[in-house]
Each structure stands twice: as structure tokens, then as C-alpha cells.
């Protein structure tokens, strides 16, 4: 009987991302002793925090069945301007404030085009991705800016916790609480589940959508800030292709592109860490570094594949019954 089989299959599919994570982890743990050391695990966290933060913002957008391709550009732009300011002799603190402001404005710009003028998020953010990277390159003249003083912050440890991880955790907690413990958060899910019904129920659709793009912009900026503090330099490749990494992380964490389904914790975090773990793991087993994309992309594919299978199985289970069979 197909239903019963599906019932057994579903739990497995539900937790596909977790299973993947554990699987990859144990593989590397077995392959190399160095992988399991505390320092290395902390390293993984540090390296994944930047993408993780951006991915958290991306999750908000994906939950509303939207998409934000401009996050990489936002990272670059905010970092570039921060760099200019610091080189121009402005205080680091002020520069960081500027970064956040830029993230906010950028997000608001996207949101305006999407909610006010009703253009597809894909196109809007594609265009602002173009413009944003161009603008940043214009500002930097594609020059590398070395800001060694920032590394102090990036490598600092507050009560033993590395700065990037600290920021990561802070953003994560804030996002998780917002999504699970506030009306806005629940409305985000509602909109993603059925925009029309949400409107009928009297949820302010425009405001919810606007906010998620602003949030995504903010997270991107903060992610850029963290990366900047780690690199201590801004190069023209800064934040390049990060939009894809962020989307991948969210999707790996079980977030659906069709909206309404996904969690920042554990989901997106697992995804982000998983991505970094693969890179780090391959490194510790000193595998050919070029092989990295060949490993990560099948994992992404697998995650989505299981999700779509799960979806079809659910459809099977949920087919409307119109008669009660006495024998069931």
C-alpha cells in the first residue's frame, strides 16, 4: 500500500538536510583525525559565519517565495565604502554604522521596486546586483584596499568566542526569535504559504514583503562586515557569487524556493556550516582543492531532490478522500 510506504519514507525525507550534515561530518571525521579537533571545528564556525549571516537574511526572503540576488553586491558595496571611510581616517565604529546603513538603504531600494512597482524580485535584484557591483568597483576603482587594523577585530576573541562567531550567533538568535516569537515572523510564513489568503486575513502584505528585503539587505551588510574584518582587505572579488552560496545554504537547510517552508535554526545554519565543512574537510584530508565544487553541488542537488520527492509523497497522502472505506 503506497500510503503506508510514504508514511515510513516521509520522516526520512523531512530530515534530509540533518542526515546529509551528519553523513558528511562523520565521513570527514573518519577520514582525518585533524578534522575532529576543537580548533578545527571552531575554524569551520568562523569561516562559515559570514555566509551564514547572509543566508539567514536570504531565508526571510525565500520564506515569502521571493529571492534576493543582490546580497553579494551589498556585501561588496558596504565593505568598499567602509574601506574608503577608514582609509579616509574615519573611525572604525563609524564605518561599521555606515555599513549597516547602506545595507538598510539597499534593501529598501529593492523592496520599493518589488512592492511598489510590482516587478519580479528576480529581475529587480538581478539589476541591483549589476548596479551595486558596478558602483562598488567605481568607488574602489577595482583597487584592493588593505585595512590590516581590522584584522585585530576579526581575530579578536570575546570571552573566548571569536568575533565572527559571536556576530553570527547574535544575528541567528535575533532572526530565530523574530521568525518564531513575533507576529511579524509568523506573518512571513503566512504570506509564503498563501499570499492571497494572507491578504484576505488582513495581513499587510506590502509591509511584510518590504521588511524581508530590508532584513536581507541588513544581513548582507553585516555579513560583509564580518568577512571584511577577517580579510582585512577589500578586493574586487569581494562577496562575488555569495548570493548563490547564501541561497544554497538556505536550500540545504530545507528552505523551499516556493515559500512558507524553512527555518533559520537549525536549517539555514546547518546549511551554511555544511558548505564550509565540506571545504574545510577536503582541505584537512588534503584533497585536490579544485574538487570542492564537485562535492558541494551534488549535495545541494540531493537536498533539493529529496525535498521534491517529499513534496510528491505528501500530495499522495493528502489526496482528498470522499468516501470512508470500511476496511482501512
Amino acid at each position: 500500500m503506497t500510503n503506508t510506504r510514504a508514511k515510513i519514507l516521509l520522516p526520512v525525507l523531512e530530515n534530509a538536510s540533518l542526515i546529509l550534515f551528519v553523513g558528511v561530518f562523520s565521513v570527514f571525521a573518519m577520514k582525518s583525525a585533524k578534522f575532529l579537533t576543537i580548533e578545527n571545528l571552531i575554524n569551520i564556525l568562523i569561516q562559515s559565519s559570514s555566509v551564514g549571516i547572509v543566508a539567514i537574511g536570504m531565508t526571510f526572503v525565500l520564506l515569502t517565495a521571493g529571492i534576493d540576488l543582490s546580497v553579494g553586491a551589498i556585501m561588496f558595496l558596504s565593505a568598499a565604502i567602509a574601506g574608503k571611510l577608514i582609509l579616509g581616517g574615519c573611525s572604525v565604529g563609524l564605518a561599521f554604522v555606515a555599513i549597516v546603513a547602506i545595507g538598510f538603504l539597499y534593501g529598501a531600494l529593492n523592496a520599493c521596486f518589488i512592492t511598489r512597482l510590482r516587478i519580479l524580485p528576480f529581475i529587480v535584484t538581478l539589476a541591483t546586483l549589476f548596479a551595486g557591483r558596478g558602483l562598488s568597483l567605481l568607488i574602489t576603482q577595482t583597487r584592493a584596499m588593505n585595512l590590516p587594523e581590522l584584522v585585530q577585530i576579526g581575530s579578536a576573541r570575546i570571552v573566548g568566542i571569536p568575533f565572527p562567531v559571536l556576530v553570527f550567533a547574535a544575528v541567528l538568535i535575533a532572526a530565530h526569535v523574530t521568525l518564531t516569537r513575533t507576529a511579524f515572523g509568523r506573518h512571513v510564513y503566512a504570506v509564503g504559504n498563501d499570499a492571497e489568503a494572507a491578504k484576505k486575513a488582513g495581513i499587510n502584505l506590502g509591509r511584510v514583503l518590504f521588511s524581508v528585503y530590508v532584513i536581507s539587505g541588513l544581513c548582507a551588510a553585516v555579513g560583509g562586515l564580518v568577512l571584511l574584518s577577517q580579510l582585512g582587505a577589500v578586493s574586487p572579488t569581494f562577496g562575488d557569487k555569495r548570493e548563490f552560496a547564501a541561497i544554497a545554504a538556505a536550500v540545504l537547510g530545507g528552505t523551499s524556493l516556493f515559500g512558507g517552508k524553512g527555518k533559520v535554526f537549525p536549517g539555514t545554519v546547518l546549511g551554511a556550516v555544511l558548505i564550509q565543512m565540506v571545504e574545510n574537510g577536503l582541505n584537512t584530508v588534503s584533497a585536490d582543492p579544485y574538487i570542492y565544487p564537485l562535492v558541494i553541488s551534488p549535495i545541494i542537488f540531493l537536498a533539493v531532490f529529496t525535498d521534491s520527492v517529499r513534496h510528491t509523497q505528501l500530495q499522495k497522502l493528502k489526496r482528498r478522500k470522499i468516501r470512508v472505506e470500511v476496511f482501512e
Partner: protein, 506 residues
């Protein structure tokens, strides 16, 4: 004698100049249940949509506790204490029951200025509401894990949560099993006891007469009968519902059905959907399938057309079994399916009329080798069919399907299939959302097709049109065929009774 809480007076509404409500007046008393009955298209839903703030009325007034009531949005209506429980439920399946109950009215608890959800209060309130509709599941359960019946109860609980004074039920039992329905009735009784007023819309007259204090019968947007339950025998209600002289609407069926079978179903079964369905459709025959929503008529059609899986039994077209072949195989073999959902399954809304009409028969107009489409021939053919169904349009190549009226859209779908010259048509609610004038033309087209030798499976919830058009009528309920009635002894009440008969095996 309790006082009137809601009153309609001279309410009228029309779409595309076609009146769907004419001078409707009715009164709902505090703590009463008002039964609203009438055939599809009688205007029940329109009336309730006006009350629920989904659409505005053209004329007339509604008084809620004496003062005028004209809600602009559903939200406003619900603020005024009117809860609308739609046929298709408006719940967010990815959220928990508790969250659905308070989606716009979350109790909050400020911590450092940030308004957090007060989850304890929410859960407790939710528990209380669920208890009120005796639904014994945790408020944290996701709605997607609930059965349709349980979801219905959640909707009711939501209404109570918004302390509604008037609750509108629109066909609440269609997707419920008899057990779930019983449960619902129990709740309704209790709400009445709490002197909450309700409007109950249903085809199932038995339920209506059992639940309601007063009954209002609508026909063609007019109130044709109103009064206390006692005054309405089943017979009287039915005759009021369908009491229209029918001969002028329906075309004369000149030809008699032929002998050789076109479409044949042999004990078709699918667990939980249909059970042991068999029938034969002959050349030139119009075979009606009557049944209420959720009787399995649409599901049967989808199985026959190969859209849904079939567990046992077989289906033959022109004598050859169809096996597992999907819609494509059916179409190639000469079967047509006009679905009940024109917008989502029938038309390419943004495409031109010509593209829509041509869609099915494209292969016929493609040269064998390069599969190049002969546009001239295609357009001429499309033109022809469009003309034959009397489609009104400004140029079939220029106008997009979505800009047509409901009637003309339906004609486009028909034309699409006619162009492919199939031998068997399955028409599911072909006159739904179509004004009376267009209805007549649809009937004419069906008659012509039958005269042309095609077999037609005519599915409808309007008994009247089946009686007007069919050679035989199969009556379905609970996924089974209850009766097969010959044209000679057609009888509305007999059909309705069969349609209302409970699922034996439940």
C-alpha cells in the same frame, strides 16, 4: 421572540450586466440558524460575499443590529463580528492551529519594548477555543496534519476567537465524512444555545431542515420562499428550488442515441475516491451524471481521463481498453475533457483565442517531417469552429482569452475540443459561471454534438439542466452510482433523494 440581528432589504447585484441578485430581502434573528438553499448560480454565494465584504452590493441595504452595514474588506466585516467559513478554507497549512486562530490578533507580551508573542496565553486561549468545538488535538499541531473535518472545526474556533456574532457556513459538509458532519452539527447546536446567529448554506436539504430554524430559498437571484422550518417539506423545498418551466431553455433533441458504445467503464474503483463504477455511453447519447459536490463525480471524470490513478476495473474507448495511458493517450484516441475549473485547467489565459482553440489539434496541422504548423489552415479551421459555437470576439488572433466573458471563455474551451473531433466528450459543469443566455447556447452546442454522433458525459449539480438535456442520468453519492434513470421517468425529487443518500459503507 428574539430580535432581528441582521436584515437584508432590496439587495441587488449584477456581473457584466447580468443580474445575479434581484431585490433580495431576508432577516436573521438573534440565536437562530437560517438555512439558505438554492441551486448553483441561484446567488447564495454572491449574497454571502456581499455580507462578508468580499464584493459590494449594487443596490439595497443591509442592517446589522439596526445600523447600515457595507463592509469594504473581509477584515472589516470580521471586525463587525461576521465570520465567513468558506468552502475552500483560508487556513495557513504551514502554521500551527494556535497561530491560525490568532494570525492577525496575536496576544503580545512586551519584553524590553519588543512585542513578543505571548505563547502561553495563545496556547491557553487556543485550548479553550478548541475545547469549545470539542477538537481534542494540541494547539501546536500544524494545520497541514489535520483532516478536512478538523480544519473546518479550526475555522469555527477561529470565528469564535474573533467573537463573531454571525457565522456563515458555505457548504460546510461537502468535504466531511458523515461522522465529522455529525460532530459539526453538534457544535452548531451548542453555538445556537450560546445565542450565536448562523447562516447555513447547503445542498443537503436533510441537514438544512434538521439544523435550521428558518429557511430561505433562492432561485435566479430572487427569494422564492421564506419562513419557519416547519413550513418547508422536502418536496416543497425542492420544487421551489427548481420550479421553472424548462421547455424554452433546452433545445429539442432531434436524434435518438445510437446502439454502439463509445465510452465504457467496467467496475472502476479507487480506494477512498470511487467504488465499482460501471456505465456505457453510446454514440449520440447525452449521459448525465448528477451528484452533490464531493459525491465523486469530478473525481470519476478525472480517473476516466487518466489524470488520476485507477486501482481496479477498466475503461474502454470505442471498444479498445485505454489501460494506463495518460491524458495524451486519451486525447489521441479521441476523448475530450472540459474541466470544472476553466481558469486553471481549461485556458491559456494570456494566449490568443486562436492559440487556445488550436492547442489540442496542433499535431493535425503539423507537416509530418519538420512538424511545421500550417498557420493559415489552422486559423481558418479555428475561425470556423469559433463561428459554429457563436463565439463573440474582436478577432480570434488578436484577442486574449482572459478578456472574454465567462460564457465566451467556455465556448473557447468547447471549440478547442470540437476542433479535435473526438468521439467522446466529458463535460464537467459546462455551464458553471455562465449567464443564462450563454447557457442556452452551450446546451445547443451539446445537442449538436450528440446529433453529430459524439457520446457526451454531462456532469452537473444542476438537476434541472440534466433533465433538460440527457437521455439517461446516473446519480452518484459517496463515490458510488446509486441509480440509473431513463429519460422516460426523470423526476427531480427521485434524483435529489438518490443524491442525498448516505454512503452505505460509512
Amino acid at each position: 421572540m428574539s430580535e432581528v440581528i441582521l436584515e437584508f432589504e432590496g439587495v441587488g447585484k449584477s456581473f457584466f450586466g447580468v443580474p445575479v441578485l434581484r431585490d433580495v430581502g431576508l432577516r436573521l434573528q438573534q440565536g437562530h440558524v437560517l438555512g439558505l438553499v438554492g441551486e448553483n448560480g441561484a446567488g447564495k454565494s454572491t449574497l454571502m460575499n456581499i455580507l462578508g465584504g468580499v464584493i459590494p452590493a449594487d443596490s439595497g441595504v443591509i442592517r446589522l443590529e439596526g445600523e447600515a452595514h457595507a463592509p469594504r474588506t473581509p477584515a472589516e466585516a470580521s471586525r463587525k463580528g461576521i465570520a465567513f467559513i468558506h468552502q475552500e478554507l483560508n487556513l495557513f497549512t504551514n502554521l500551527s492551529i494556535a497561530e491560525n486562530l490568532f494570525i492577525t490578533t496575536f496576544p503580545k507580551r512586551r519584553v524590553g519594548g519588543i512585542p513578543f508573542l505571548d505563547r502561553r496565553t495563545i496556547r491557553e486561549k487556543a485550548k479553550a477555543l478548541l475545547a469549545a468545538v470539542d477538537l481534542s488535538v494540541s494547539p501546536d499541531t500544524l494545520v497541514e496534519d489535520l483532516s478536512p473535518g478538523e480544519r473546518q472545526l479550526v475555522e469555527i474556533a477561529k470565528a469564535l476567537g474573533a467573537d463573531a456574532r454571525i457565522i456563515i457556513f458555505d457548504e460546510p459538509t461537502t468535504s466531511l465524512t458523515s461522522r465529522e458532519a455529525e460532530r459539526l452539527f453538534g457544535i452548531i447546536e451548542r453555538l445556537r444555545a450560546q445565542s450565536i446567529s448562523m447562516i447555513y448554506i447547503s445542498h443537503i436539504l436533510g441537514d438544512v431542515r434538521r439544523l435550521c430554524d428558518d429557511i430561505v430559498v433562492l432561485r435566479d437571484g430572487r427569494v422564492v420562499g421564506t419562513g419557519a422550518r416547519e413550513e418547508f417539506s422536502l418536496e416543497k423545498t425542492i420544487s421551489l428550488m427548481v420550479g421553472r418551466s424548462i421547455d424554452q431553455i433546452y433545445p429539442l433533441r432531434a436524434t435518438a442515441p445510437g446502439e454502439e458504445p463509445v465510452l465504457e467503464a467496467r467496475s472502476v474503483s479507487q480506494r477512498g475516491i470511487v467504488h465499482d463504477v460501471s456505465f456505457v455511453l453510446h454514440r449520440g447519447e447525452v449521459l448525465g451524471i448528477s451528484g452533490l459536490m464531493g459525491s465523486g463525480r469530478t473525481e470519476l471524470a478525472r480517473i476516466i481521463f487518466g489524470l488520476d490513478p485507477i486501482e481496479s476495473g477498466e475503461i474502454l474507448l470505442n471498444g479498445s481498453p485505454l489501460g494506463r495511458s495518460g491524458p495524451r493517450g486519451r486525447v489521441r484516441r479521441g476523448m475530450a475533457f472540459l474541466t470544472e475549473n476553466r481558469r486553471e485547467e481549461g485556458l491559456l489565459m494570456d494566449a490568443s483565442i486562436a492559440d487556445n482553440i488550436g492547442l489540442v489539434s496542433l499535431p493535425a496541422f503539423a507537416s509530418s517531417l519538420a512538424k511545421r504548423i500550417d498557420h493559415v489552415r489552422l486559423c481558418n479551421a479555428a475561425e470556423e469552429v469559433a463561428h459554429s459555437v457563436r463565439l463573440q470576439s474582436m478577432g480570434i488572433t488578436r484577442q486574449a482569452a482572459k478578456t472574454l466573458s465567462g460564457g465566451n471563455q467556455q465556448k473557447v474551451v468547447l471549440a478547442k475540443w470540437i476542433l479535435a473531433k473526438p468521439s467522446a466528450f466529458i463535460l464537467d459543469e459546462p455551464t458553471r459561471g455562465v449567464d443564462v443566455g450563454a447557457k442556452q447556447e452551450v446546451y445547443r452546442i451539446i445537442a449538436d454534438l450528440a446529433a453529430g454522433g459524439a457520446g457526451i458525459l454531462f456532469i452537473s449539480s444542476e438537476i434541472e439542466e440534466l433533465i433538460g438535456m440527457c437521455d439517461r442520468i446516473l446519480v452518484m453519492s459517496g463515490g458510488e452510482i446509486r441509480e440509473c434513470i431513463e429519460r422516460g421517468d426523470f423526476d427531480r425529487e427521485r434524483i435529489l433523494r438518490a443524491a442525498l443518500r448516505e454512503n452505505a459503507s460509512a
